[in-house]
Symmetry: C2
């Protein structure tokens, strides 16, 4: 996966999940340092409607598998403590 | 919420999510330092079937709201870097 491409793609995610992958909103999860494969599974579930969420559905709708791999690699690469 | 009670209740969770809240299994998420309210929402969603997962459904089935609050407080209190 291409972490740099993931970072570029992640601009819209930062609004909720934070620039460093630590969410500023208690209902929304931190993504920094999360398991890459878990992130892939969740984004695909949101995209395919297997996991229902009104905010994430439109976010994931336009993502290709490659986008999802790159985004997952990017967030997994971030420091879980947000530094 | 009662972090100590959450810790006591979390013994069964450690098998997948790790003793320190860092998962040893790529498909399963790290929980250490995750957002408390997010964890509450997810465990309730698993318990009530709103979020479908064959592994988590039976895990969450027996949890009371208090259990869920305590578990969420416990995992949120853990060092996101797993130390």
């Amino acid at each position: 996966a291409d972490v740099a491409a993931g970072k570029a793609k992640s601009a819209v995610c930062a609004a909720c999940h934070g620039n460093n992958g630590i969410s500023m909103i208690p209902m929304y999860p931190n993504l920094a340092g999360q398991k890459e494969q878990y992130l892939v599974l969740q984004m695909k579930a949101f995209r395919d409607g297997e996991r229902k969420n009104m905010v994430m559905a439109p976010m994931a709708a336009g993502l290709s598998d490659t986008d999802i791999d790159n985004l997952s690699a990017y967030f997994a690469s971030l420091d879980p403590a947000g530094k």
